[in-house]
């Protein structure tokens, strides 16, 4: 009888936390819900198996709970984080405890021994959650493939890095492999195009270096400067657009990603007039 009472209290506590928030029991009763879980688990050692007739019915409840949880987690994975709570007002983390606890007691009532029941209950805790998420991730991956199964690597990269990747491909076409490409300083709004390791990946074997304004004079031969507005939303004091000073140039290119064309000009770069999203300067040191 004591075991039954503890079981009802523990499942009640787990259920309450599942439909409210983790810590609900603690904030209202001053005792963490885990204490009730633990007491019911320990009291199961005293269980004399008087509820054997209930076994089939509660097993069905156990399976229903586990399958429901799997579907909910799958749903959250393929939609958005917090989908379960915002739609069903159910806290998945504590609902997971509710299911594991239910399964532990179901197995005890089904005459499984203590350690085995505990192992299986935690397997369900780990396995159902993991399976829901994994199948969700796999589903999302397959959905992406099915949307455009024959996309080329370039098309997929352009989708992953819109603007940046096509611009890098153009820079690669316009510069010799042994040249140096100078990029904006690393920081907002040039988080991507100012990241030397990232740009090096796309422009290799060209040498890539960050250029700071105090070093913009006296640039060596075979050097190119990236023109970049800044592909990240501006959050600091630094305004969009780079380079911010005029640069003596042999040739400058406006890389027009939207229309997939390069417009070439044989004149110096002027930051006032050449406010382009992407472009390239071939430095002149004559």
């Amino acid at each position: 009888m004591i075991y039954l009472i503890s079981l009802v209290i523990a499942l009640g506590a787990a259920g309450l936390e599942a439909i409210s928030y983790p810590g609900f029991v603690m904030s209202h009763l001053g005792v963490p819900a885990y204490i009730f879980y633990l007491i019911s688990i320990l009291l199961s050692l005293t269980h004399k198996n008087n509820f054997k007739k209930l076994a089939p019915a509660i097993t069905i409840i156990g399976y229903t709970l586990a399958i429901s949880y799997f579907i909910l987690i799958f749903g959250e994975t393929i939609t958005y984080p917090n989908f379960i709570f915002s739609t069903f007002h159910l806290n998945p983390a504590t609902f997971q405890f509710f299911i594991a606890l239910s399964w532990f007691h179901i197995l005890i009532i089904r005459k499984s021994d203590f350690v085995r029941s505990l192992l299986i209950a935690i397997f369900i805790f780990v396995g159902v959650d993991g399976a829901g998420r994994t199948f969700g991730i796999a589903f999302k991956g397959v959905r992406v493939i099915m949307a455009d199964p024959f996309a080329t690597y370039e098309q997929k990269m352009a989708k992953a890095y819109p603007g940046f990747y096509p611009a890098m491909q153009e820079v690669k076409k316009l510069t010799p492999p042994d040249s140096t490409v100078l990029i904006p300083p690393q920081g907002n709004p040039w988080e991507m195009e100012g990241n030397a390791a990232m740009v090096t990946y796309f422009l290799y074997p060209r040498h890539v270096e960050n250029l700071y304004l105090d070093k913009i004079d006296d640039l060596p031969q075979n050097t190119y400067l990236l023109i970049a507005k800044g592909s990240w939303p501006r959050v600091g004091d630094t305004d969009y657009g780079w380079p911010k000073v005029p640069v003596a140039s042999r040739e400058i290119w406006h890389i027009d990603i939207a229309n997939q064309v390069n417009n070439s000009y044989k004149r110096d770069y002027d930051p006032i007039s050449d406010k382009w999203d992407w472009g390239l300067i071939e430095v002149s040191n004559e």
Binding site: T77, D113, F114, V115, R116, L118, L119, I120, I122, F123, F125, V126, G127, D129, G130, A131, R133, T134, F135, G136, I137, A138, G141, V142, V144, I145, Y153, K156, M157, A160, Y161, N195, A197, M198, T200, Y201, Y204, P205
Partner: protein, 443 residues
């Protein structure tokens, strides 16, 4: 060339390279043999290739073939001298339930491969470090430009060399090979678990491991955490021998050392190879095979040293001091740990305990199994899990003394101990099997 074909060819090459080495172990499962051959082939050919590069040879296809020939020849000689007569390793017949489990496992692995192969390489470190080095090696046939920056030698080269092979045979993206590495591990896992338990338990373990969402996700992109997990856990699996002083135990110990050594050829900064050293020492004493244990540990140190000595030489050449590390327990360091104690506890709770809460909970009933069944294999696995937790906490404490932003890279800490999931799932499934059996039933 299509990336699919390049990855399949590279995988076949690795399997062939490591095939003869599998004859030193009396394996029952063909899947395990294939997985073992792949992992040994990929780990050892790239390692020999790198050693050749250190001796001045170029990193190109002919020298790669020489590395593979050395491996095949060594394997052949060892097989002829010490190898087991090959058992009939056939694909086991499966019951209806087992077939469903097997179909689910295979489907998920194929999906991981398709997703990894389809998606472009975009994850930061995989792109800027591992894959970049792969492209640079394929282009230059040397370590030119890689040895110029400390960042590029911050991790060992194995994964980059594997990528470079795919690029040398004109593959476009090498990302899909990470799912193959994972599949090879699943082959080993299935073989080991089938040997210890039965087909159903083996398949359940495989399914549980694959459906850990973080592990599955890692199989679809090109980080090194999953390959590290694969080699480390395989090494521990071959190290946790049951029984006493069996005739073949020395080979298992050697292979354990090989795998754990190769895990340091993927990620060298982690200290979990020490788990392997402790386990092998324990087994050496327990099975009275001290000499084999010493050889096995020597292999770990040899592989580890081959990379660390290279890094030191590179850092000296570019006049770059090594990363600041705590070299001794100073009073300052100890007081910093005391001051940060609460932050360290919070950090460990959010990034080490909570993400793996199910795994830590599983160790509680496993302790019950250790007591009830007195099974040395479960005891070893539980000790390995407990040691992982201790080493991680101590590591965080030490890290907090010299790395200013230590508490801002929780994701990294979580990924670092990704291997605790398969390790715990293996140990607990085996425990569950033991609980359903009379006696110890150790194999």
């Amino acid at each position: 060339m299509n990336s699919f074909i390049a990855i399949i060819l590279t995988s076949l090459f690795f399997i062939l390279s490591g095939w003869y080495l599998t004859y030193l172990l009396p394996l029952e499962e063909r899947l395990e043999r294939v997985g073992l051959a792949f992992l040994l082939g990929s780990g050892l050919t790239t390692w020999l290739w790198f050693l050749g590069c250190r001796l001045g040879l170029p990193l190109n296809i002919p020298t790669l073939l020489v590395s593979a020939i050395i491996l095949v020849f060594t394997g052949y000689v060892l097989k002829e001298r010490f190898g087991f007569v090959r058992n009939k390793t056939t694909l086991a017949k499966l019951s209806k339930t087992e077939k469903y489990l097997a179909i689910t496992v295979v489907t998920l692995l194929i999906l991981a491969f398709l997703i990894g192969s389809y998606n472009p390489l975009t994850v930061w470190d995989s792109l800027a470090l591992y894959d970049f080095r792969g492209h640079a090696i394929a282009m230059n046939h040397s370590l030119k430009d890689i040895v110029d920056l400390p960042y590029y030698v911050s991790y060992p080269l194995m994964i980059s060399l594997v990528h470079s092979i795919v690029y040398m045979i004109a593959g476009v993206s090498a990302q899909g090979i990470h799912a193959i590495i994972f599949s090879a591990f699943i082959g080993i896992l299935y073989g080991r678990m089938q040997h210890w338990t039965n087909k159903t338990y083996a398949l359940i373990t495989c399914l549980l491991v694959i459906t850990q969402s973080e592990i599955f996700t890692h199989a679809t992109f090109a980080y090194t955490n999953l390959p590290y997990l694969v080699y480390l856990v395989s090494g521990l699996l071959y190290g946790v021998l049951g029984g006493k002083n069996k005739s073949n135990s020395q080979y298992f110990l050697i292979y354990s050392g090989l795998f754990i050594g190769l895990s340091t050829w993927i990620r060298s900064s982690e200290i979990f190879w020490i788990l392997g050293v402790m386990l092998i020492s324990w087994q050496g004493v327990r099975t009275k095979r001290l000499f084999t244990a010493v050889c096995s540990i020597a292999i770990i140190f040899l592989i580890r040293y081959s990379w660390s000595s290279f890094v030191i030489s590179v850092l000296l050449a570019i006049d770059q001091p090594d990363m600041p590390r705590i070299s001794r327990f100073t009073v300052e360091a100890f007081s910093m740990i005391i001051v940060n104690a609460l932050s360290i506890a919070k950090y460990a709770y959010w990034n080490i305990f909570l993400p793996y809460i199910g795994m830590w909970l599983l160790t509680i009933p496993m302790l019950g199994v250790v007591i009830v069944k007195r099974n040395v294999r479960v005891l070893m696995l539980v000790c390995a899990i407990a040691m992982t937790a201790c080493m991680t906490i101590v590591g965080i404490m030490i890290f907090s003394t010299y790395f200013r932003t230590w508490n801002q890279i929780g994701d990294s800490a979580r990924r670092m101990i990704l291997f605790v999931s398969p390790l715990t799932l293996i140990a607990s499934t085996y425990s569950l099997y033991l609980m359903g059996k009379r006696g110890n039933n150790e194999v």
